[in-house]
């Protein structure tokens, strides 16, 4: 799985050892990455985010999809769960 080999720091620095590219994610981005790595689905993560940040599940899910699209553009996200 592509996500597994990313080096992700607590400060939100992300390093892809395959391409040598580095990225920075904000707090919510970091949360999503971590939860994806734990094997949670976007729907489950949306539940957590709506709990933690007091936003609707729909909004959370939409933002997660948007985030995953950005990841896909960087070649960090390949398909639905990996």
């Amino acid at each position: 799985m592509k996500l597994k080999r990313l080096a992700i720091s607590e400060e939100g620095f992300v390093f892809d050892p395959e391409t040598g590219n580095s990225y920075t994610v904000n707090e919510t981005g970091l949360l999503i990455l971590k939860k994806l790595r734990e094997g949670l689905s976007p729907e489950e993560i949306a539940g957590i985010m709506s709990e933690e940040y007091g936003i609707s599940r729909e909004e959370a899910l939409r933002d997660i999809q948007d985030f995953l699209e950005a990841m896909a553009r960087f070649g960090l996200w390949e398909e639905k769960y990996g």
């Binding site: 992300v14 892809d16 395959e18 590219n21 580095s22 981005g29 999503i32 933690e52 985030f67």
Partner: protein, 446 residues
């Protein structure tokens, strides 16, 4: 109260943009190397010039040796020749007590020529020509076998000598790091190692006395070494039980990082590279918790880069100035990727020989080759430099003086600043004669 929500973002980091933060002019100036002024070095020995510090070499070796010995009772450092096989550099490490780790006939012969006895040589590498393999066997070298074909060669040599040969097995395994180097030796998880062991035992000509595992290069994960050590101990116990061999040494190879800035890493090496003490601790913990008390096989480490990289500098001179179409400044140096193979992996520390007024700005450092790839640094942050300004690049002690190319131009001098502060030439600059000496012109072209 709920935390304030921010939409998730991911931004790709651009090199030039990142490096502005912590740069300050004072950090970028280097007037001397171990007390010898940069200007004096260039006046006497020319530019470009590789400079090694004997003091740093010895200090780093002693530090690492004592560090590991403080964690585990039996440690041997075997100097990785390919990292830097200049005679003087090897001599320093041998004087400090390192054995030699070689991977080819050339390196084996170079170690022997330097007076290293065969039994002080660890012989690795995927291709050991039969002749040198025979010599290594007769001279008692520790031979770590990479393939089944090599086992066949060794069995043949054993038949010639009439003696059972003692060998090490090179093992590759999953230690949780990426990329996994699985082309060397025999795979552990697939059971290949045990199959090979059975084959060796059935042949009756060889005896396995050591295990070797080299995981990769510039490994930033100390725990990976802990896992490798654990797996080797488990394997050694299995081999001892199943085949009655005694595993006398566990060789964890090299791959320890130096304080160099790997391309793609955002954090400076002081933060990104774990201290070597963490590696020592993880390895020792894995060994000491799994080995029976009192039974301590020799731990061999083939540390190269971590010993030599930071002791090497390259002095180079700005020979021309340019402005690129996108507005950036560019400088043409007299040293390029012909001398700095590791420029492909690292952002070197770039220091100027004296303080130069003016705001630092992003610039590109090009080498002197007529090749697009000849980029020493794609994004340095330097004040406006005048032609003739000298720069000091570091750390460059590892791999450059072995992987450098004779291409387009000559290779320069290499000097050593001794512990007493004298400067000795340890490799002369190349001349035309050096390069053409091996060429021949057929009669009809004369």
């Amino acid at each position: 109260m709920k935390k304030p929500y921010q939409k998730p973002t991911i931004l790709k980091l651009q090199v030039g943009f990142l490096r502005e933060k912590k740069s300050s002019l004072s950090r970028m100036v280097r007037q001397e190397i171990d007390g010898v002024p940069v200007a004096e070095l260039v006046e006497k020995f020319g530019s470009p010039l590789f400079v090694f510090s004997e003091k740093r070499l010895r200090e780093q070796f002693r530090y690492l040796k004592r560090l590991f010995e403080g964690h585990y009772p039996r440690v041997e450092f075997s100097w990785s020749y390919k990292t830097n096989y200049l005679d003087a550099i090897c001599r320093i490490f041998h004087q400090e007590g390192a054995t030699a780790e070689v991977v080819s006939n050339f390196e084996y012969e170079k170690a022997r020529r330097l007076g290293v006895p065969g039994d002080q040589i660890v012989f690795n590498g995927p291709y050991k020509p039969k002749e040198i393999l025979r010599q290594a066997v007769l001279e008692g070298a520790r031979i770590n076998v990479d393939s089944l074909d090599e086992i066949l060669d060794l069995e043949e040599i054993a038949r010639e000598t009439g003696e059972k040969l003692r060998i090490g097995l090179r093992v590759n395994m999953d230690t949780g790091i990426y990329p996994r180097w699985d082309r060397f030796g025999f795979n552990l998880e697939s059971g290949e190692v045990l199959n090979v062991a059975r084959r060796i035992a059935a042949g009756g000509k060889l005896e396995v006395v050591g295990l070797h595992c080299h995981q990769g290069t510039f490994i930033l994960e100390p725990e990976a070494y802990g896992r490798a050590a654990e797996k080797l101990v488990d394997l050694s116990q299995k081999l001892e039980n199943d085949f009655g061999w005694t595993i006398e040494y566990l060789d964890l190879g090299g791959g320890f990082p130096s304080r160099n800035r790997l391309k793609g890493l955002y954090l400076p090496p002081e933060v990104a590279v774990p201290p070597l003490s963490e590696y020592a601790e993880k390895i020792a913990r894995a060994l000491l918790t799994r080995l029976p008390a009192g039974d301590y096989p020799l731990l061999i480490l083939e540390t190269g880069r971590a010993l030599v990289d930071e002791a090497g500098f390259l002095i180079t001179t700005v020979r021309a100035l340019k402005r690129l179409p996108d507005g950036r400044r560019a400088y043409i140096l007299d040293a390029g990727v012909n001398l700095l193979f590791t420029a492909f992996w690292y952002h070197f520390r770039v220091e100027v020989e004296r303080e130069i007024p003016g705001p630092p700005e992003p610039c590109v450092l090009y080498g002197p080759l007529c090749m697009n790839i000849d980029v020493v640094e794609e994004s340095a942050l330097l004040p406006p430099l005048a032609r003739g300004t000298r720069l000091v690049l570091s750390p460059v002690g590892a791999y450059n003086v072995t992987q450098w190319m004779q291409f387009i131009t000559y290779r320069p001098r290499v000097v050593l600043v001794t512990e007493k502060g004298n400067v000795e030439v340890i490799r002369e600059a190349e001349t035309l004669e050096d390069i053409v000496r091996r060429e021949k012109i057929p009669e009809h072209l004369k």
